[in-house]
Symmetry: C2
Subunit: 419 residues, 2 copies
């Protein structure tokens, strides 16, 4: 067939051409997709670009200053260096290397009390979430996020053509079952639970998680449980991985936070068998698999350094105390997990203005709440800097927040907005 497209479609300009040319000229076609342009910007990248000038201390990034356990690195890297085999350089199994799957299975059984599900290694928790979305949702389906949500979850939904539905949290920044229930429609496919929460820092404890599980079960929707911060717990709270209804829960984990291995891009998912074929296709097509050597490092870390995550979390306590002392009067609640506090910008400031002022005048970078669906708030990470530097950052933050609380926005030159 060689057709002439005489009916212009939206955004297309047509013109007749000689028979040696295509009939259809669409000058406006060479632009980015609507799904990508309408998705939220890469917020952390943009913040760093705009504000990370020399001297600015970052309380923005979702990463700790800690290094991974030494031995798993040397074990894995020396094995590669000493090996004559091409194996670590070749493609591996799409679901992940067998040794790693085995230690993950043991970790899930002993630490998370999760059994009987399928496991897949992914290139981190973000990529895991994209896998999960593609495996359970179709275009036009709805997925519920609770505010404040994790921004990459929203962008993933937007890119995958899934409609995000936002449910407000309770006053302690925990998921609110009443709000969630009210957000369910016949198009709802899943509820996303980030626990401990990013950016909220709140921990949904066992009773609440079980209530959410039951709610999802009764509504016939999936529960996607992102447990990236499973080990970062304070004030004696405990982590609980949803497991009442294993046929409807998908748990996402990562080595990035607990083991400080973010740069190696390795995480894992636990999911019901009914999703196996879909997950395999998706992983094969998107990352193929996680970096093989990252998988070796993860294997050794999970095998030998089971205590590391708790030590890591403990190590952050001084930082946490230091930052809490500063933010206490602006925070709704002293949340007990992850490594964030989520506070109201003082003095009625817009969060973008507050972020700009803190960075430009007080040399300290935070993330504006609008990135998480809650304008007027700020996310403060207490993990990214060593204690000595964190003390300086906390002092800058203290001065900055005080300024904001004393100088009303109308007196501050707030015209030059961050956008």
């Amino acid at each position: 067939m060689d057709v002439c497209f005489c009916l212009p479609a939206r955004g297309h300009t047509m013109s007749r051409r000689g028979s040696d040319r295509s009939h259809c000229i669409r000058k406006t076609a060479l632009r980015p997709s609507d799904r990508s342009t309408s998705a939220e910007p890469a917020i952390i990248e943009k913040l760093h670009e705009d504000y990370m000038k020399p001297g600015v201390l970052s309380l923005a990034a979702g990463v700790s200053y800690m290094k991974p356990p030494r031995d798993c690195l040397s074990w894995a890297l020396e094995a590669v260096l000493q090996s004559d085999s091409a194996d670590p350089h070749r493609y591996g199994d799409v679901v992940g290397d067998q040794n790693l799957l085995e230690v993950i299975r043991r970790k899930l059984e002993t630490v998370n009390k999760l059994t009987g599900q399928e496991i897949m290694v992914t290139a981190g928790a973000n990529q895991a979430f994209v896998n999960v979305l593609l495996s359970i949702t179709d275009v036009g389906d709805e997925v519920i996020l609770t505010k404040p949500y994790y921004f990459s979850h929203l962008v993933a939904l937007q890119l995958c053509g899934v409609v995000p539905v936002m449910a407000n949290s309770d006053p302690e920044l925990k998921p609110d079952p009443i709000e969630i229930k009210a957000s369910i429609t016949p198009k709802t496919k899943a509820l996303v639970l980030v626990n401990p929460g990013n950016p909220s820092g709140s921990v949904a404890e066992r009773e609440l998680v079980e209530e959410l599980e039951t709610l999802c079960h009764d509504a016939g929707i999936w529960l996607i449980s992102d447990e990236a911060y499973e080990h970062f717990l304070y004030n004696s709270v405990a982590h609980y991985s949803p497991s009442l209804y294993p046929n409807q829960v998908i748990n996402i984990f990562t080595m990035s936070k607990s083991y400080a291995l973010a740069g190696w891009r390795v995480g894992y998912i636990s999911y019901p068998k009914i999703l196996s074929d879909s997950m395999l296709k998706i992983n094969d097509t998107v990352p193929t698999h996680a970096c093989r050597t990252s998988q070796s490092i993860a294997t050794k870390a999970l095998e030998d350094d089971g205590d590391f995550p708790a030590v890591h979390a403990k190590e952050l306590e001084r930082n946490r105390d230091e930052i809490w002392r500063v933010v206490e009067k602006y925070a709704t609640v002293k949340t007990t997990g992850a490594f964030y506090f989520f506070i109201k910008a003082p003095g009625g400031y817009d969060d973008l203005d507050a972020t700009r002022i803190l960075a430009e005048k007080y040399n300290v970078l935070v993330v504006p709440g609008v990135a998480f669906g809650m304008p007027g708030y700020l996310r403060i990470s207490y993990a990214g800097l060593r204690y000595e530097v964190m003390k300086t950052a906390a002092a800058c933050l203290e001065e900055g927040l005080l300024y904001l609380s004393r100088i009303p926005p109308e007196r501050e030159d707030a015209k030059e907005r961050w956008d």
Copy 2:
């Protein structure tokens, strides 16, 4: 709001519940998505699972037996081992590490004659392709693949809600401009060119690529040029990277083939600036970035081992000759690139039956053409085995193909089909 959904949607079963429960019970909702179930299966994984019994030699996988250049490995891994810094373990720039972007820029200028575009490091060429799709297509758009297509491209289209349109190739298995032009509709967003071709092995030389570029330009569609096999060229053909209209071309490259670094998952894309924001959002949301250490290895490899890819390709020539001797009489054409021959299954055999017989009776694994949209064909890789082993595989293949050409399908017990 707390609504009761009285109108059952397709696939939903409703029932009234007490006010303490959700009103909506959807027993059938907990199943995989349509987009994932209707997508093609992960073919190579399935083949290996079904047929890679001990003793079977694989001519199936798209990977060579070669090891990566030694020095880039030791340089990068020893740097990690000796470093006191947490940097290689932390998140990196979403677009890629600056050093790597710099050497990629030089490589693109000198080797590919590509200048003035944006560059992003990806976690391999598959993930790059998903990035590209999400950045330029919306749900319902059409993208043209030429048959035989690369299966991961088809699955990526299916997962992203894009309609694949297939254009037949010419008798030499090269893209056919007439067929492609005839496949363009007002919904077409892009043409995908895999050059050198996988699975065809055919090379579209400069004149043909320029014709395709012009065709895309005139039609106002993107040209996605997957150049994963750019260095695997035989019979003195040359690789040409499309560059006539840099504002409409997106070039995809990978370290997996040329540098035998498949297990490290690192590739890169070159694209017009108009896509920068979209690409950044997408990479941030899907892989975040490629493994940092994989990026260091790639940096050193591109910097110091520019000759390696040509040596690598040359090394495969003996394998290529050996396999060609065996497949010559079944092949349409002696294609001159990548590391595949794409041949007609002898004796009128269905490709799935032929694959099964070759694996089960002759201990040699190939990929059935149906995986590439051309039933009745077989893809034979000549890269995966060292010459000594390849000779044995070639002998098995020779016997197997001879059997197929002599024993008609109706006499062969072909009931137990591979599915």
